[in-house]
Point group: C2
Chain length 292, copies 2
């Protein structure tokens, strides 16, 4: 674990700097730039862009392109957090250890900052140094995962499920869309910055699916047993809101077992890459054991 | 005027049907689809897609591509209206003769419906039947006009200018961004669905600029002297909100004169196209004389 934690720390710092540079280089109305930067540059684990980069490296692809794609994914992830935290949605006051965007800049500006991050993500993707045909495929992959058959579908299901009983199947569907789709896009877009065969593509897809599941179960567990100072957001929020979660439906022990099983499956799906996928394999352990 | 009104009516009906087909063909979570369709398919003048189509026809380009691009622009325009009407923004209760999206579906769903329309616009653009290189240029043009150097910049300036005195120069800048940028994208993306030389490109750019200005001054005038039943939204909203407008800054007469001057300039910029640009020329008169 020590090895992967150092590696993640380095990559995270590198991405933080890169995102800062990208924002500094953009001509944006000052009030809007401030609101966008506040959430974009407030830390975060940067797991999505790191997944893009690690996958691209595994396949010996164009890491410059992967870095930019990863940044675009972080723009999209941040937009979804800002809109998700709004009073009309999850109504969260804290995010990444600071006040939510709308509490600092007002709801109107928070809505626009989210809109702007989504729009500028496409600007970044258009500038990725890959042939136009490949660039379009990449954008298509990300649109699909962030759109009505991915993240947005999950957010809508989540909104509609509030204060209503849902079963495990529905919970899994919500998570697969809300979190899993963008995880998958992160990994597969790393593959699109390189060349890979159908078998490798399927293996990565399977890896993404199980890693996303691991991530989400652990996320639910941390909301029950986590440390809010480490998490940077209040714990117990799901329970307070009457939200369905893995621990609420399965109990702590069974949830933990499911997370471990998903993690094992994620690691296993990398078998065809042998030693070359060691970082992606260690990342599974990190996701499983994380405390924030 | 009769000729252009019939033509616009036909095109509008055609686009309404096309947008209905596009929505029917998309696999979208039912609650979200309903909220998106409510605003997208609620009429509207469809001026942006018609501009795309007319420009493409003028240059004898790929009208199938232009039609799809026009639909994407209507998705983006509708998203901006939904978010603009939210309580945290303009707080409008009516739009296109019906209750605002958030009053029917709740604020959370309205935010997501806007997000979804923006995201799906890119899906539509990716499917435009043009070579990938051209498709990327097209998406780039639209991202720029909808983004932080276009429409979003205008919305932010508008938000920040509320209850503050602004002068004519600032007002023009807000309008150029908030409305003009997407008008320009509509016209120039029509040109990108065809071939045109630099002189024609500049002429169309100039036309877009002056047409956008005409449109906006008339919009401000209609908020003072218009008929709310024709407009489908309440009049007097700008005054109520203490918003700067052309009539507030220049008076009704001078505003009207400026609109006429801009309209004449718009028509004049089409000179190089001679008779071929007759529809675009008549469209200027329609925008100038419209009552809704």
């Amino acid at each position: 674990m020590q090895g992967i934690e150092n590696l993640l720390d380095n990559y995270r710092r590198d991405f933080d700097r890169y995102l800062e540079e990208l924002m500094a280089a953009q001509k944006i109305q000052p009030g809007l730039k401030k609101a966008m930067s506040y959430s974009l540059l407030s830390g975060g684990k940067r797991i999505r862009p790191i997944l893009t980069l690690l996958t691209c490296q595994l396949l010996e692809g164009n890491t410059g392109a992967a870095r930019r794609v990863g940044a675009a994914l972080e723009f999209i992830h941040t937009y979804s957090l800002i809109h998700d935290d709004l009073p009309a949605m999850d109504d969260d006051d804290f995010r990444r250890g600071q006040y939510s965007n709308h509490l600092v800049f007002g709801e109107g500006m928070a809505i626009l900052a989210g809109d702007a991050l989504l729009t500028q993500a496409f600007q970044l993707l258009l500038e990725v140094e890959l042939p136009a045909e490949r660039r379009c495929r990449l954008i298509g992959l990300i649109v699909e995962s962030a759109g009505v058959q991915g993240m947005l579908a999950g957010q809508v299901m989540d909104l509609e499920a509030e204060n209503r009983e849902i079963d495990l199947e529905e919970l899994q569907l919500i998570h697969r869309n809300k979190t899993g789709a963008l995880f998958q896009a992160a990994i597969l877009s790393g593959a699109l910055c390189a060349e890979c065969n159908e078998q490798e593509w399927q293996a990565l897809k399977n890896y993404a699916d199980k890693l996303g599941l691991t991530f989400q179960i652990v996320d639910d567990l941390l909301d029950v047993i986590g440390d809010s100072s480490k998490l940077g957001k209040e714990v117990g929020q799901d329970l307070k809101r009457g939200k369905a979660t893995y621990p609420a439906l399965l109990g702590l022990k069974e949830s933990r077992q499911r997370a471990e099983r998903a993690a094992a499956q994620a690691r296993k799906s990398l078998d065809i890459f042998a030693d070359r996928a060691e970082s992606l394999r260690e990342l599974v352990d990190f996701v499983l054991e994380r405390s924030s």
